[in-house]
């Protein structure tokens, strides 16, 4: 193992140790079930906002955004905006009323608002679906990080991350997690800002520019292992040594690729010499100038895709179980709103840095464009920009630590919230069962992550958001603002949106997507499934109008009236 790999492992280990220490400090304070579940509502707004941000900024944000920028350029700018807008939607539609509802999870809210146990069970199912789907890329991302930084196999990263997460959750409950995650947010930000500053200094003195009409060059001889079927494209002729199947032809030796597209089958090995133009994955801009501008990729229905991502991101955030649960740790609705605004600022600042790193990675790690491992850009940029040396190694270790923090925080947050749902809705036991629930909620996604091929964050994360946006967003928004919502209408809407979006997710993950509009709808389903869920909910509620809960007025009043009137009742 190289020195850089050892340094990275040490960094990851330090994060684990620090998390355990902070968590154990919290444990001493955690005495009751309530402590575990909602941190006794004593978490301060700054700590809470940091924790929410730390929990929310997953590997998809820490690694995925930069990788997406590296590949897609200006068009990828919409992704972080979509994720950030999710918190604006949260503060606009949900934050304060949800906190006042006293609901700790979406199933809780469903029961509080509509009093239907059937709907509660349905929501529990989708909480688990969303949580597990979201855990999948997190764990696989841990595997990617470990593989990239060290020579260890990917499974070890997945298993290790899973183990640490379970231990953290079982050991401390949510209270410790709150402070662990607040710590991890700042660690993540540091791990991005410091390398960005170093590389930025290099970039300013660099004579190269992104304002050119050619593709980026390989900065060193590079070998690319193609693990899934892929279509590469190049704006210029490329000479390479291929070993495998290219364009349906068995190749073994030097090859000349003409400008255009080339299909490469899985298992092929491509070797490029230094200074050769980098072929990019089809659909992405090929030259640097195109990359700088918007709408220059040749992906179909790109505008529609952007809108779909915006919808999924903006409306899906409020449906993420690990985000919602955080709002119950606010002392009141007003604090919930303010916390959300703080989260917006924290996340926005983080994304600005992330975008900067993505831009720099275009210059220093262009080879990732061909490997399809563009998500590794953040991990590799210190070494790529600074060369081999202790500065680069230490920065690499810092980035590794930030990456570990990203995986751990989101994963443990997800596990806590999933365990909370299992604990309150399925197991209905005492707090000892909470540990069992935590274990249960982590085992399945770990097994899945070990057995499924890894996909880009850019693909999987928006898909998960689409499921959340198609199920819980309509339930929450209509439940909070529309007195006509009925349990049947809500159940129908959740079912329609959930089934449609889940089907699209499964098709995207496991099947080859058709071309054209149907493919886009499966790939970015939110633009169809979210309106479908809303419509279904409204229409069915209209038809079952007589079943609307009788105390809906009092309920809505409780959701919207300030706490000082004494209408809300917190549970123990």
């Amino acid at each position: 193992m190289s020195t850089s790999g050892i340094v990275a492992l040490v960094g990851i280990g330090l994060v684990g140790v620090a998390s355990a220490v902070i968590g154990s400090i919290g444990v001493r304070v955690a005495r009751s079930t309530s402590d575990f579940l909602v941190a006794s509502r004593t978490v301060g707004p700054v700590a809470n906002a940091s924790a929410i941000s730390g929990e929310y900024l997953s590997a998809a944000s820490f690694l995925g955004i930069a990788g997406l920028i590296l590949r897609e350029g200006a068009d990828a700018l919409w992704f972080p905006i979509a994720f950030t807008t999710g918190y604006l939607a949260l503060v606009l539609f949900v934050a304060a009323p949800l906190r006042r509802s006293g609901a700790y999870t979406v199933p809780d809210f469903a029961v509080a608002r509509l009093g239907s146990d059937g709907l509660r069970r349905l929501c529990t199912v989708f909480v688990l679906v969303i949580g597990w789907l979201y855990l999948l890329p997190q764990l696989q991302g841990a595997g990617l990080a470990l593989t990239t930084l060290t020579a260890l196999p990917a499974w070890s990263g997945i298993a290790g991350a899973g183990l640490v997460v379970v231990l953290t959750v079982v050991g401390g409950g949510m209270r410790s997690i709150t402070f662990v995650q607040a710590f991890q947010y700042w660690l993540k930000l540091t791990a991005l800002v410091v390398p960005a500053v170093f590389v930025m200094g290099l970039f300013i003195s660099d004579t190269r520019s992104l304002e050119r009409d050619t593709a980026p060059d390989f900065r060193a001889e590079t070998t690319v292992d193609v693990r899934t079927d892929v279509v590469l494209q190049t704006p210029e002729p490329v000479t390479l040594i291929a070993d495998g199947t290219v364009d349906g032809v068995r190749v073994d030796g030097p090859t000349l690729w003409a400008p255009g597209r080339h299909e490469v089958d899985a298992g092929t090995e491509l070797r490029f010499a230094q200074g050769v133009p980098v072929p990019t994955v089809a659909g992405a801009p090929t030259t640097d100038r195109q990359w700088l501008e918007m709408g220059t990729g040749d992906a179909e229905y790109e505008l529609l895709g952007i809108y779909s991502v915006l919808i999924a991101g903006a409306l899906g955030t409020m449906g993420l179980p690990h985000v919602l649960v955080r709002f119950y740790t606010n002392p009141d609705g007003r604090a919930a709103r303010r916390t959300t605004v703080a989260v917006l600022a924290l996340i926005g600042g983080f994304y600005i840095v992330t975008v900067l790193v993505g831009v720099l990675s275009r210059l220093y790690t262009p080879e990732l464009l061909s490997t399809g491992q563009s998500d590794a850009a953040v991990l590799l940029i210190p070494a790529a920009a600074l060369g081999q040396g202790w500065t680069a190694w230490l920065l690499g270790g810092l980035v590794a630590a930030g990456t570990a923090a990203a995986f751990l925080s989101t994963s443990s947050g997800l596990v806590v919230s999933l365990a909370g749902v299992l604990f309150t809705d399925v197991l209905r036991g005492r707090w000892k069962d909470f540990r069992l629930a935590a274990l249960l909620s982590a085992v399945l996604p770990i097994a899945l992550a070990l057995s499924v091929t890894r996909l880009d964050f850019a693909l999987t994360v928006p898909l998960v958001f689409a499921v959340a946006a198609s199920t819980f967003c309509p339930l929450l928004v209509l439940g909070i603002w529309w007195r006509g919502l009925t349990a049947r209408g809500a159940a129908a809407g959740v079912l329609v949106g959930g089934v449609l979006s889940t089907a699209a997710v499964l098709a995207s993950l496991f099947a080859r997507l058709p071309a054209g509009l149907p493919g886009l709808v499966l790939y970015r389903p939110a633009i169809v499934t979210v309106p479908a869920a809303f419509l279904t909910m409204v229409i069915v509620s209209r038809f079952t109008r007589s079943q609307a809960p009788g105390d809906v007025d009092a309920l809505l009043l409780r959701l919207h009236a300030p706490e000082r009137l004494g209408l809300t009742h917190d549970r123990a």
């Binding site: 950030t84 604006l88 503060v91 605004v341 009236a561 000082r564 009137l565």
Partner: protein, 541 residues
């Protein structure tokens, strides 16, 4: 001293609240006025409820009475009891008409007096106790049930005093009504009379209909009701106190117009009005009223109650309190023999408070006892009217039932009539501090929660205004995020533009968008919080 404090605060506090309320409407939308009216109506209903609770027996009769007074729901109720008594005073009713006119001036006069005397009134009663002699003279005249007129006459001279007596005498009708009015008026005028908001409301109502005018007064009744509720709860006392404070202000504002109007228009009102006067004290009286002797007492009671209430509040210990009150009052009383007026006014308010208190813990006992006491009081009241303090004291003493405490706090005795001593002690806490905070919220919140028209209106308005805010911000966000992708896609020129060497898309989407989103969210929280604040203020006021 405490009594004084109490008395003084009420006046001030009331004024403030009233002022505050009116401003709100102005600041807010026109709908706020509607809400305010709704609330008043609601309060009236509530007050009726409270009364009902108190005197189930008289309920029917009272209701009848009340109904007429509908406008002054609260008052009517109180009046009702008085009316029973009124039968005795029937003669008075006739006179009341006359009296009302007289009263009007008196009221006006009184109001000023009250304003000036807010503290005095309180003390007034007490003083009465001590200075019975001084007051007695004045009051004695009024004292006689008939005294109502005499009182009126006397009142005319000493407006305030007259009001006090008037209640007693007119008994019933004119007097009571006046008394309450005065009380309210005093409060209003003193505090909020100036408060255009409240005054405006009252004025508006008055102009439109007597009923409306009366209604304004009902608010006072409402207030009491609230107090009652507050008292009802474990911490009733505090709640009651707060309410009382509220009631003061509210009644004050509302009442003023009513009294005048009532006076002017109320032969009928008389019936109702008397209730007002009695109302405060009358509740017990009302109970007693059935007995009828109560009628007399009511007037007396009111006065006594007023003092008592005040004294009681401040002085925790009834007996000591009475003395202390007396001392404190004495000064005041002396200052304003006219206090008679003050007393009257005070009594009205105090009576309100008392009623509240009664509903709360003493409720039961009061009802039963009141009748008896009322009877005594009635007689006394007649006297009292003339000579509030002495008589009241006597009454209290006579009632003996009240026990020693009563002697100490004769006033209390009248007020409590039934089982005052105890209430008195508790009352003390109530009055002083928590009134505004606790009691009000409870009332309004319940209103809103109970799905009453007012509550319905408030709730719908809250949710709608919140939704309006939310949709406004959501629409802005949607506009920006919806149009930008299309602009960049349709107008490549924009995407090609450079700002400081960096592409526009990178500047706009990579950097500027985040502060924009944060700013939107921040702005939204501010606006949403303001909406909630307005709602809460509304409900709690």
């Amino acid at each position: 001293v405490s009594t004084h404090v109490d008395g003084a605060p009420p006046s001030v506090a009331p004024g403030d609240p009233d002022d505050g309320e009116p401003p709100v409407p102005s600041a807010g939308m026109g709908s706020e006025w509607v809400r305010a009216e709704m609330q008043r109506r609601m309060a009236a209903n509530r007050s009726t409820r409270g009364r009902h609770a108190r005197a189930a027996e008289a309920a029917a009769a009272r209701r009848r009475d009340d109904d007429p007074p509908i406008t002054a729901a609260g008052l009517p109720r109180r009046v009702r009891p008085a009316r029973p008594a009124v039968p005795v005073p029937p003669p008075e009713p006739a006179s009341p008409a006359d009296l009302p006119e007289n009263y009007v001036p008196r009221h006006s006069v009184q109001t000023p007096g009250p304003a000036a005397e807010p503290a005095a009134p309180i003390s007034g009663p007490i003083p009465v106790m001590r200075p019975p002699a001084g007051r007695a003279p004045a009051r004695p005249a009024p004292a006689a049930p008939e005294s109502a007129r005499p009182a009126a006459a006397g009142l005319a001279p000493a407006g305030p005093a007259s009001t006090g007596p008037a209640p007693a005498a007119p008994a019933h009708d004119s007097a009571p009504a006046e008394a309450p009015d005065t009380g309210s008026t005093t409060g209003r005028r003193a505090h909020g009379a100036t408060a255009n908001g409240a005054g405006a409301n009252g004025a508006h109502r008055a102009p439109t209909d007597d009923g409306p005018v009366n209604r304004p007064s009902p608010p006072a009744g409402r207030l009491p009701v609230r107090r009652r509720r507050g008292s009802g709860p474990g911490t009733p006392l505090q709640a009651g106190d707060e309410p009382s404070g509220a009631s003061w202000t509210r009644p004050g504002t509302i009442v003023p117009p009513d009294p005048a109007r009532r006076l002017g228009a109320p032969p009928e009102a008389l019936g109702a009005t008397p209730p007002w006067g009695p109302p405060t004290a009358s509740p017990p009286r009302g109970v007693a009223a059935p007995v009828r002797p109560a009628d007399g007492p009511p007037t007396g009671t009111p006065q006594a109650p007023g003092p008592e209430a005040v004294t009681v509040r401040a002085p925790a210990a009834p007996a000591p309190g009475t003395r202390t009150d007396g001392t404190a009052d004495a000064p005041e009383a002396p200052s304003a023999p006219a206090d008679a007026e003050a007393p009257v006014e005070v009594p009205a308010e105090t009576t309100d408070e008392i009623t509240d208190e009664i509903p709360g813990g003493v409720m039961d006992t009061p009802t039963a006892p009141h009748p008896v006491v009322a009877g005594q009081r009635a007689t006394l009241s007649g006297r009292v009217v003339g000579v509030p303090l002495p008589r009241t004291s006597d009454h209290t003493r006579i009632p003996a039932r009240p026990v020693a405490p009563r002697p100490v706090t004769p006033r209390n005795i009248p007020v409590i009539g039934t089982a005052p001593p105890e209430p008195g002690s508790t009352r003390v806490r109530v009055v002083l501090s928590e009134r505004k905070g606790v009691a009000r919220p409870v009332r309004t919140i319940k209103e809103v929660q109970e799905g009453t028209p007012v509550g319905e209106l408030l709730r719908r308005d809250l949710i709608r205004s919140q939704m309006r805010v939310t949709l406004r911000f959501a629409a802005l966000t949607l506009l920006v995020l919806g149009v930008l992708p299309a602009v960049f896609a349709m107008l490549p020129v924009v995407g090609h533009a450079r700002v400081l060497g960096v592409g526009v898309p990178w500047v706009v989407l990579g950097i500027l968008m985040y502060p924009f989103l944060v700013g939107l969210a921040w702005r939204y929280t501010r606006v949403a919080e303001r909406v909630e604040q307005n709602f809460a203020d509304h409900v709690q006021d």
